[in-house]
Amino acid sequence: MPLIMSIYYVISIFLIGMLIWNFLIEKKSVNDMLLYLIVAAPLVLRVLRIK
């Protein structure tokens, strides 16, 4: 796997972590909770390498 692609996977994992963290600490806005999950979806699929 090329170095650049590896870095992108690391960035994806970092972003998933941040989105989950934000999802967990969000207390009131249902809208924001949903958006965190939707934004995380393609990153999760990428990291799992589902084709």
Partner: protein, 387 residues
């Protein structure tokens, strides 16, 4: 469980259900194989990876059909589904592979040039995943693909795509577009390997002409035309004039721009001895101001918004209540390909080609494309291939 966690749990379940349902649909689309019945003219079928090792075992590898005549002559490479969301090209290539008989020379056909793009979709534009063509034996189902290769196969995209070898800066997205990665390189991105392999076919097989078939918006000036560089211009102009006079459809000629790199009609001409041509058939489905992107619009090309724009003189093609049906688009591709061969053969008798059993424009319009597809259920298994 607190109210907050109840809400979070429900949201999580909804998102996972949507992901799984959509994921299964996209997985089925990506892995759906379209049968193609190799006709009596097909003499061998190889993989594109034969010409570039880097494609072996990747989603970009694809079938290359050779239709060799008994007599030596010129050679033509036909490339379809460079952009898999312009399916008239692929449908025409299927007609060639399933029907053409080559008497003199060699016809090489790649029906699914960007194989990864053919297994991708454009979710944001609401593209249908499949469409069906009625045939004499039932409906034949095709995948509707996308313009660019799937990011599942070539990822990540750069911030700006630097074209090789000219170093021109192009849109980041075009690094997955096989009409921006010519002439390619063996150690480049996956799509650069695809175009490099095609360049190797042209060089190793000493191909005389290359035809890249496309579809274009009716609101885009480069539509309903043949695009050609200077070296191919004479044959392109004579082809355009001949089909207009004999077959009664317009297909004007556009010059290949010198300063726009990565395009097949530019780089094939500059980096090989082959004469390149690119044909564009009008495709209302691709226009932006249309109704929903349905399979009906894809196949009949009828749209009230385009009709209104046509009446205001805003389109670059004639457009009326009849739309621009798929049969017309495929018919144009077939007739233009045959006329290019005819014009080339007249000017190069030592490299002439003779082909029969490819329908012309009027025949395709009258009989429908489906008439030229053979029933895979009744075909010899040895003649079956999958795209």
């Amino acid at each position: 469980m607190s109210r907050e966690w109840k809400i979070k749990s429900v949201l999580l379940v909804i998102v996972i259900v949507v992901m799984v349902v959509a994921g299964f649909q996209l997985y089925a689309h990506r892995h759906y194989m379209v049968p193609i019945v190799a006709g009596p003219g097909v003499t061998k079928v190889v993989k594109l990876s034969k010409y570039c090792d880097g494609l072996k075992g990747t989603a970009a590898d694809t079938n290359v059909f050779f239709l060799e005549g008994k007599e030596e002559g010129g050679k033509m490479l036909v490339i379809a589904n460079t952009h898999s969301n312009e399916p008239a090209a692929g449908l025409s290539a299927f007609v060639f592979v399933e029907n053409a008989i080559v008497d003199k020379g060699t016809l090489i056909v790649i029906p699914q040039f960007n194989n990864s793009g053919g297994r991708n979709t454009r979710a944001g534009d609401g593209y249908p995943l499949y469409f069906e063509i009625p045939t004499d034996w039932g409906n034949k189902k095709f995948r509707m693909g996308n313009r660019d290769a799937s990011p599942l196969d070539q990822w990540p995209d750069p911030d700006a795509y630097i074209h090789y070898p000219d170093k021109q800066l192009l849109s980041y997205l075009d690094i997955r577009n096989t009409n921006r990665t010519w002439p390619g390189r063996p150690d480049g991105s996956l799509m650069e390997k695809v175009t490099y392999a095609a360049m190797q076919i042209l060089r190793e097989e000493k191909v005389d002409m290359a035809l890249d078939m496309h579809g274009a918006e009716t609101m885009f000036p480069v539509t309903n035309c043949i695009v050609a560089p200077d070296k191919s211009m004479k044959i392109a102009v004579l082809t355009s004039l001949t089909v207009k006079a004999k077959e009664k459809f317009a297909n004007h000629v556009e010059p290949s721009p010198l300063g726009f790199r990565g395009l097949s009609h530019r780089e094939i001409g500059d980096y090989s001895d082959t004469l390149p041509f690119l044909v564009e058939a009008p495709m209302p489905f691709l226009d932006q101001p249309t109704g929903p992107k349905t399979t009906k619009l894809l196949l009949d090309g009828k749209d009230p918004f385009l009709l209104s724009l046509s009446q205001k003189g805003r389109l670059f093609v004639p457009y009326d209540e009849e739309g621009w049906p798929m049969d017309k688009r495929v018919g144009q591709h077939c007739s233009v390909a045959l006329e290019l061969i005819n014009q080339f053969s007249k000017r190069n008798p030592d490299r002439a080609m003779e082909i029969h059993n490819i329908p012309k424009y009027a025949e395709v319009v009258e009989n429908g494309i489906g008439h030229y597809y053979h029933d895979p259920g009744k075909a010899d298994k040895a003649a079956m291939y999958y795209e």
